[in-house]
């Protein structure tokens, strides 16, 4: 009898719609009041925002859990609490990420001026100076790494998708997985070990950094290109073969143009990945405060290394160095964002025409 009546009921007892929000506001107000009281009573030196937020959130979860349990039952109550927990996880994670971006923007803007983009750190102690040498270094080293990685990466992906079968292709796929996991500092050590053997242990130059970065970039390019080539329908290859087009021309003129948007996007994103690398360049490209346009001789500083050294090797006027570090960081983030943005635009523009 009870079973039947339960089955017949579809109108469960539910809490009103605004319940969750009301409870949330109430919890936060209550928690804020408590902390305000503590602050006024001189127990804590000032109003503790973090504490108020944490206690408010816990209060909310407990209230929602208990009330919902009493009114709506166990399952509904767990559902509501878990929704709260998951949202809380999201909000907690947001704090450091927003703080990071906000601080970089706020502190980086101090030295985001013409001088930063037009002068190096040569003979600068204290205020002034800029990161031009590091920007040039970044462009050169990253450019060289791209020139090395893109052809090798794309050709390897072509081999794996269009030609590769059997043991060689399998082992290359495996090694690319291994390469993906190489810590960047190990890539730097490799470049050092390689060039030190040839030029002696004191060797520091830009191209070494480019080699180290290529080691990190190639697997990313191969992976993304491979994915894109696999998306090209086989029918297009067959259509081309059936017109009497040799395989290599089919790949160059049909397969690659069809996949080009995705491939370029992948390349841009891989550039964004390596442009922020610091550790390998610290080891093989070294530090420098002067302009250097020659990849093949002398030390070369890149932006990430610039940020690092501005912080670690502070001169007399520490704040000037820290300001420059933040500006360097801001420029880096802007470059990375731009690369991502360009990648998206290219993907949009070059996407195959007329395909829905």
């Amino acid at each position: 009898m009870t079973l039947m009546s339960e089955a017949a009921v579809i109108q469960g007892r539910t809490l009103p719609r605004g319940f969750a929000w009301t409870t949330l506001v109430a919890s936060i107000v209550a928690s804020a009041a408590i902390f305000l009281a503590l602050a006024l009573a001189q127990v804590t030196p000032e109003f503790n925002v973090a504490g108020a937020a944490v206690v408010g959130a816990i209060l909310y979860l407990v209230l929602v859990g208990v009330i919902s349990r009493l009114v709506e039952g166990r399952r509904k109550s767990i559902d509501r609490v878990m929704a709260g927990v998951i949202t809380a996880a999201f909000l907690i994670a947001l704090i450091p990420l927003i703080s990071l971006v906000a601080t970089t923007a706020a502190d980086g803007i101090n030295r985001f001026d013409m001088q930063f983009f037009s002068s190096s750190m040569r003979n600068v102690v204290g205020a002034g100076g800029g990161g031009l040498h590091a920007i040039i270094g970044t462009l050169l080293v990253t450019g060289a790494a791209t020139i090395i990685s893109v052809p090798v990466g794309i050709m390897t992906a072509i081999y794996l998708v269009e030609y590769g079968k059997g043991r060689l292709a399998k082992s290359i796929t495996f090694l690319i997985d291994v390469m993906t996991g190489i810590p960047s500092i190990v890539a730097g050590l490799f470049a050092f070990a390689l060039f030190a053997l040839v030029f002696g242990p004191g060797i520091r130059f830009g191209i070494g950094g480019a080699v180290a970065l290529s080691l990190l970039m190639i697997p990313v390019v191969v992976r993304s290109t491979e994915e894109m080539l696999k998306l090209v329908p086989n029918e297009l290859r067959e259509a081309s073969f059936a017109l009497g087009v040799p395989k290599w021309l089919t790949i160059v003129k049909v397969v690659l143009p069809t996949a080009i948007a995705g491939i370029i996007t992948g390349v841009m994103i891989s550039i964004a990945r390596i442009i922020g690398e610091t550790a390998p360049l610290l080891i093989i490209a070294g530090l420098s405060t002067s302009m250097n346009y020659d990849l093949f001789s002398e030390r070369m500083t890149t932006l990430p290394v610039f940020v690092y050294t501005q912080y670690t090797i502070q001169g007399a006027d520490a704040q000037a160095y820290i300001d420059r570090a933040w500006t360097g960081a801001l420029v880096l983030i802007i470059i990375v964002l731009l690369l991502n943005l360009i990648a998206r635009i290219i993907a949009r523009v070059l996407a195959p025409k007329g395909s829905r």
């Binding site: 998951i86 996880a89 990071l100 500092i185 070990a193 550790a279 912080y311 960081a329």
Partner: protein, 307 residues
């Protein structure tokens, strides 16, 4: 006939070029292994006296570094994993659809922020901010071994490093988890809904079981990243070569990668070889972690073939 010869030649050249690129990768990796081992060898075979002269004695020197590397990465994972799964679920199943797309994009961007920026943030913003909390912890729960005093005056402790690392790997793990959660077959979810499940029960019954292998492999990749991370640790930590579980003291176990970055510029002679040898150890550790991730991913591929 000439046209044919030309076509054949083009095909042969192109295929050879593609294969050559693949072989180059084989050679490059072999070179990495060979050069690192060659450069590490002197430190491995040198007598302790020789090594002492250059400031480092290899074998007693490595275990604290390995400990520090694994300890910091483990702590980072402890913070990052639940949060990442939470965010991924929030984006894939709780947030309004329009918001979710923007959030997904934002997470991808955060994954691309250079580690040196995280390092700068860790030392200049996070470390000062957490000092009062650390003092409170040591004063009130100092009896707990992890929070034993004396408290560090700078906030540059292994706990801060772990938080910075967690923030760094958070976007990576989240991005992968989100992708896996979104791939949950709609049929599974609908089946759960049809049984009268609440949203959380759908997540528990359909989404999490389906995504378990994906979560594991995302975790492994995040762990690999945390193990190899250099700059954030090098900038934030006040390092020592010790084994200690204490989270809040000024003496902290450093990591292999950070140690190399800090010591390399001034290293000479056998010191360089010793550092390269530690790099080799790091490579081995990350290799194992990544290989495990790979195994899990491949196993999942086999299973999902049935879907």
């Amino acid at each position: 006939m000439t046209a044919r010869a030309k076509a054949r030649l083009g095909d042969r050249v192109f295929q050879a070029a593609a294969m050559g690129a693949g072989l180059l990768i084989l050679v490059a990796l072999a070179a990495v292994a060979i050069f690192l081992i060659a450069k590490a060898m002197p430190a491995l075979v040198a007598s302790p006296e020789e090594l002492k002269r250059d400031g480092t004695d290899f074998w007693p020197y490595v275990p604290p570094l390995i400990f520090g590397t694994v300890w910091a990465a483990f702590l980072a994972l402890l913070f990052a994993l639940p949060l990442a799964v939470g965010i991924a679920l929030f984006i894939s199943h709780y947030a309004p659809r329009k918001l979710a797309q923007g959030l997904g994009y934002a997470i991808d961007l955060l994954a691309a922020i250079p580690s040196v920026v995280y390092g700068l943030w860790g030392i200049l913003v996070l470390a000062p901010a957490v000092r009062p909390l650390y003092e409170w912890l040591v004063n009130n729960v100092g009896w707990f071994p992890l929070f034993a005093g004396p408290v560090s005056g700078t906030g540059r402790t292994v706990l801060t490093v772990a938080v910075v690392l967690a923030v760094m790997i958070l976007p990576i793990i989240t991005a992968l988890c989100r992708e896996v959660f979104l791939q949950t077959p709609p049929l599974h979810e609908e089946a759960a809904l049809a049984l009268g499940a609440t949203r959380w029960e759908v997540v528990k019954m359909a989404v999490l079981p389906f995504g378990r292998a994906g979560i594991i492999s995302a975790t492994m990749l995040g762990l690999g990243r945390a193990l190899g991370e250099t700059m954030a640790v090098a900038m934030v930590l006040s390092p020592s070569i010790i084994i200690s579980f204490a989270l809040l003291q000024s003496q902290n176990p450093t990591t292999i990668a950070a140690n190399i970055a800090l010591k390399f510029p001034e290293a000479t002679g056998l010191g360089i070889n010793a550092l390269i040898a530690t790099g080799l150890v790091l490579f081995a550790i990350t290799f194992v972690v990544n290989a495990l991730a790979r195994v899990v991913i491949n196993r999942r591929k086999e299973f999902s073939g049935a879907n």
